[in-house]
Amino acid sequence: MATTLDEATVVRDANRRIRRSGNIAGWSFAGPSVFVVLGLSFIPMIWAAYLSFTNSDLVSNGHFIGLANYAALSKDPLLRQAFTNTLLLALLYLPIGLAAGLGVAILLNQKIKLIGFYRTCFLVPFVASAAAEGLLFGFIFDPDFGIVNAGLQAVGLPRQGFLSNPSQALVVLAIVYFWTQFGFNIVIYLAALQDIPEEVLEAASIDGAGRWSRFWHVVVPTIRPVTVFLLVWGLIDVFQFFDLVYTTTKGGPLNSTLTLVYYIWELAFNFFTAGYGAAVAYVLFFTSLIAIITALVYGRRRRLTL
């Protein structure tokens, strides 16, 4: 009897020691990362919530002014403009970006030569910096010296204002954005396509499915989770649209390319209305959260028709 009790104590002590050494080792391995990540996310997040109820000017702390910032932003025409522009960008980019990404991924998912070369070409714009690409396209679409206007003139079409034309600038930015981003969609779709077992497609063929019905009834439903992921990712990305605007139009002409993030940056770091900027940032946060949750729920419930 005594020996078993002793054994039990020994085992318990050993377990406790192992657990303690695990706690120490675990926290000393993960601690620094946890400290930095949480310290630079949750603390600023709470701080931003507090700032949004003050009239902070970035230099001083400001005074508590209650809901005044939120009342002001509901009547802010620039915020509405930034909101509309961001939404328009999402509508212009996301459907085409997803469809084109899938299309090219299907083309790449074949055993033909040069696939590696093609994939590299499609990924290069995604890898290079958006700031440099903004400058590059500012030059390409330059109304006076740009190669696009030279091309239009050469074939007898009228020159365009592009980024300096309020009714064209956002569309041009959407095109540039598409060029920089859809390589990512291609790579993710390609990986998903390569995961579809060959037998499934063969079975569908044997059951009499043609190429189109194989695509619609086998490929598209199988990769639906990936489509939902890319939709969510794309939404997050569009809501953070900044670099291209900063290096091309700076929100102009006539605020036609003012995006939410660009507006927040201007409010906080150009106009020094940090409290109001924080309030706008919270509106952006909740809007994007709602959009993401909607995409997730919708994607889970229904078949996405791309």
């Binding site: 675990g26 996310s41 970035l58 090219v104 033909i112 700031a131 010296f145 790579v187 770091f269």
Partner: protein
């Protein structure tokens, strides 16, 4: 699994019918050319599309070797008459470009080294060591990836201001020391990693840190390479935070410096494009050499 949801269950068919169906399906794929003709058709679409994708970069490289008068000519010159290097000289000599480049190298290099160490340590801890709170902390950590930087940027600026780091490279390095995505990447790698080797090391009397350093890390080289490449590209390309945290030209990174340079030399496209080439080149080189790892990392992060 999904096929069962989509396709109707196959009813019993006698073998003759079955064989006929296979033959028919084979004939159809042969006739519609799924295997034989698509390759050519594939090239016909892929080749022009991929050229369009890289054409802007080719144009960037070409114009960086043109004189401004060549660029401003109407119709424009398509090929430089000779390799004019004045644009490069202008951007290197009449701006702080060398500083910007060096600053970017320092920040990106520090970010890569720090993330390789901190993310792999944390990822390993969450995947292998049982410690109190590990599950909750991991979930919270991953949830922070959903907090957009724009929400936290104003207080982050205030924090770094209070720390006295604004306008120093430290302000750029500290937020890059580790990342939720990097931790997750290493975590999922270590989860699929065989335990036996580590256990053998433990039995031989190595401490946890020794096991990690001598056994685990050398075998984690593919994952580390992927993490390093992604971190470098991300840190090098960042514009938003350096733009806010840095105010003096000597401390700019290339992205901020280039944007400022363009603002000050609006029509000197030759020099601007030369600067753009120099800014893009390091990232593209890293990408070209590490493309396989880069693709693995981004697809792996999604699948996991």
């Amino acid at each position: 699994m999904t096929s069962q949801q989509v396709l109707p269950p196959v009813p019993y068919v006698d073998m003759a019918v079955h064989r006929a169906r296979i033959a028919e399906a084979e004939r159809r794929t042969r006739r519609s050319g799924w295997r034989r003709h698509v390759p050519q058709r594939g090239h016909m679409l892929l080749l022009p599309l991929s050229i369009i994708m890289v054409l802007p970069f080719v144009w960037m490289l070409l114009t960086s070797f043109m004189t401004n008068s060549e660029i401003n000519r109407i119709p424009p010159t398509l090929l430089p008459h000779h390799l004019y290097t004045g644009g490069y000289k202008t951007v290197l000599a009449s701006s702080d470009f060398p500083y910007w480049f060096l600053n970017s190298l320092i920040v990106s290099g520090a970010a890569v080294i720090a993330q390789l160490v901190l993310c792999s340590l944390a990822g390993y801890a969450f995947a292998r060591i049982q410690f109190r709170g590990s599950t909750v902390v991991l979930i919270v950590l991953l949830a922070t990836a959903l907090i957009p930087f724009q929400l936290t940027v104003i207080p982050t600026f205030l924090i770094f201001h209070d720390l006295g780091l604004i306008n120093t490279l430290g302000a750029l390095i500290v937020p890059q020391l580790t990342s939720a995505l990097g931790i997750y990447l290493m975590y999922s790698f270590f989860q699929s990693f065989p335990r036996e080797l580590e256990e053998a090391g433990r039995i031989d009397g190595c401490s946890r840190l020794q096991v990690f350093w001598k056994i685990v890390l050398p075998l984690a080289r593919p994952a580390l390479a992927a993490l390093g490449i992604i971190t470098f590209i991300y840190a090098w390309n960042d514009l938003f935070w350096p733009l806010i945290a840095i105010t003096s030209s000597h401390t700019y990174t290339v992205q901020v410096g280039l944007a400022t340079f363009q603002g000050e030399h609006v029509t000197q496209w030759s020099a601007i494009m030369a600067g753009t080439v120099l800014t893009t080149a390091p990232v593209l080189l890293v990408f070209l050499f590490g493309q396989r790892r880069f693709v693995q990392a981004i697809t792996g992060a999604v699948k996991g």
